[in-house]
C-alpha cells in the first residue's frame, strides 16, 4: 500500500503508528521503497526514515490474512491522514 503522509512521522505520530503496527499479529514493514523497509512496530526505526509531511511511504503486511491486513492498513492510513 502506498500512503501519502498528512503529517510527518516524527515523535508522536511515529509512536502512534508503531502502536497500531504492534497489534497486527504479523510483521508489518514500512519504507520509502522496497529496498529500504524497516519494522513498523519500532518507533525508533520509523523515526530514522525521516518521513516528512506529504511524502509517500510504502507499507507491507507479511501475511496471507487479507482481511486482517486490510484492517491494519486502514488504521495506519487513518493514523497518518489525521
Amino acid at each position: 500500500m502506498e500512503v501519502k503522509a498528512a503529517v510527518g512521522l516524527h515523535a508522536r505520530p511515529a509512536a502512534q503508528f508503531a502502536e497500531i503496527a504492534k497489534t497486527a499479529g504479523f510483521p508489518v514493514k514500512v519504507g520509502r521503497n522496497e529496498s529500504g523497509l524497516v519494522n513498523a512496530a519500532s518507533p525508533l526505526r520509523l523515526l530514522t526514515l525521516k518521513v516528512a509531511q506529504g511524502e509517500s511511504i510504502l507499507v507491507v503486511c507479511e501475511t496471507s490474512d487479507e482481511a486482517g491486513a486490510k484492517k491494519i492498513l486502514d488504521n495506519l492510513e487513518a493514523c497518518i491522514q489525521n
Partner: protein
Amino acid sequence: MAGISGYGVGDQPVIGKIFLIERGNSDSHDSLKKLSSEDAITRLSEAVKKVEADFNESIKASKDTTLRDILNAQLALITDPELSSAIIESINSGKSLPQAIETAINEFTSLLVGGSEEFEARIADLKEIGVRLIDAAAGKSTLLNFPKDGEWIVVSNDLSPLETSKFTSAIKGVVTKDGGPTSHTAIVCRQLRISAVVGCGDISQLKADETITLDPTENAVYLGSRTIEHTVPWWENLPKQKTSVFRPLGNVGSAKDAALVKSSKALGVGLLRTELLFLDAKVEPTIEEQFKIYKEIVSNCPEGEVIFRTLDAGTDKPIEFLNLGIEENPALGVRGQRISWVRPHFYENQLRAIKEVSTQFPNRKISVMAPMIANAQEATVFSNSARELNFESIGVMVEIPSIIEDITNLPESINFLSIGTNDLSQYLFAADRQNSTVAHLLNPWQPILLKTISRICDLAKSRGIKVGVCGEAASDRLLAPVLIGLGVESLSAGAGAVSDLVAISHALSLSQARAAAEIAINSKSANDAQRAVKNLLNSKI
C-alpha cells in the same frame, strides 16, 4: 573570589545549597564496565524497566496534556525492542554496558542527522535516553526527587519541562549552563518567582551540597554565603501617586489564567492568547466551539479592556488541522497573520467567533490584534477584515522590525500597537530564541532594543496611537519604569507578575520613569543599563 555570570531572572538574591543535577558521570560507571556480557544484558533489561516505571509515574502525575504526550513519545522509544536488541548486539560483540548503550544510541542518532528540525530535535531526546539508561543501570535514580525542606539552588546544564514541573517549595533558585532570557527555564522561573541565573557557560566550579549565593539583579553567582540585602522592592517605600502613569494588564491563555489575573487587580487583559485552543485540535473548531471557550475566558477576565490576539502559530508551533507542512526556517516562514494568506477562512472564522463574544458582552471593550505584521499594507488588510465585523478597537503587534518605519502609514482604524519584545529582539538581533549561544543578544535590557522601543513610541505618538508591551520584558519589575519612560502606555505580564505591576502603577511617577529610561538608553551594555537603573530606583528610597 571568582564569580560566575549569566542572565539573571527575578529581583531577589538567594542563598542555598546546591542541588546538582548531573548526568553521565563516568565515575559511577566503572562498576558497569566489569560486568560479564550475560550480567550486562540482565542489567540492561532491569534498567529499561526502571526508566519505564519512572516515566509512567511522571506521566501519571502530569496534568499537562502536551507534556504527557511528549513523555509518552519518549517512553515509546525507551521500550522499543529494537533499541534493546541493538544494545545487546553491541554487548555480544565485546563492549561494556555503558559503551554498548552509547554505541547503539549513536547508531540511531547518526541516522537522524540531516533530517528536518523535528528529527534533529529527537537526537537530543535519544541522547538523554541513553544517559538515563546508563544511570539506571548504575543504580542511580533517574527520577528527580527535589528536596522538600531547606533552601536549595538547582544547578544543571539546562532543565526540561519534566524537571521544572517537579520543583518543590524548597527550590529557591536555579543556575543553568545553557539557555537564555527566553529559554524554557527562564520563563518557568519567572512564572514561579524563583530567582535564577541562566546561560552561565561554565558551571564546573559548582559542587553538590555547597552553599552559593545567587544574585539575579547582578546576573551573578557567588561561591559561599554572602550577606545579601533583602532589599525592599524599589516601589514599596514610594509615596502613592494620585494618577497611574500606565495600565497594568495581564496575559491570559485560559479561563484559569483569567481568574488569576483578575484576582491580582489588573486593569484588563493586554494579551489573550488563542493558541492553546488549537494546539491539540485534530479538526478546526467551529465558530460555535471557539465562541464557547472565548466566552468562558472573557467572563473570568478582570473589568477593562480585553485584547484578543488572533492565532500566532506556525510550523514551530504546528496546528495539525492547518496542515502547514515543514519549513527550513519556521521563525521566518508562514507564522502568525501570514497563515491568513494560505488559510484565509480560518482567520475569518476566528474573528467571527471573537465578534460574537463581544456582542455577548456589550459593556466590555473587546479589542483584536494581529501578530507578525510586516508593514502598513498588511495592517490595512487585517484592519479591513476586523472593521467589516464592526470591531472598533483594532491593533497590530510590533515584532517584525520592518513595521516600525511604516507606523506613520498605518490606517486610521489602527488604534493601538503591542510590542512583543521576545520576537522583536529575535528579529532585530538575528538571534534565534532557541539557541543559547546567542541568548545574550535577547536580553531585554539591550540599549539597542530600548532605543527601538523609544522610536516605536515616538512614531506612534505622532499618529495618536497607543503602545503597549506584552512580552517577557513587561514582567521585569526593574524594566517597567524604563518602558513607561520611553512612552509605553500599558504593560501586560503573566499572572505571577501582575500584582507587582499593579503596585508599581500606584508608585511610579512620570519623572522617575523618564529618568530611568534616559539612563538605560544611554548605557553601553545591557548589564550597565540594568545596574544603573537599579541604583537609580533604589537611591530614591
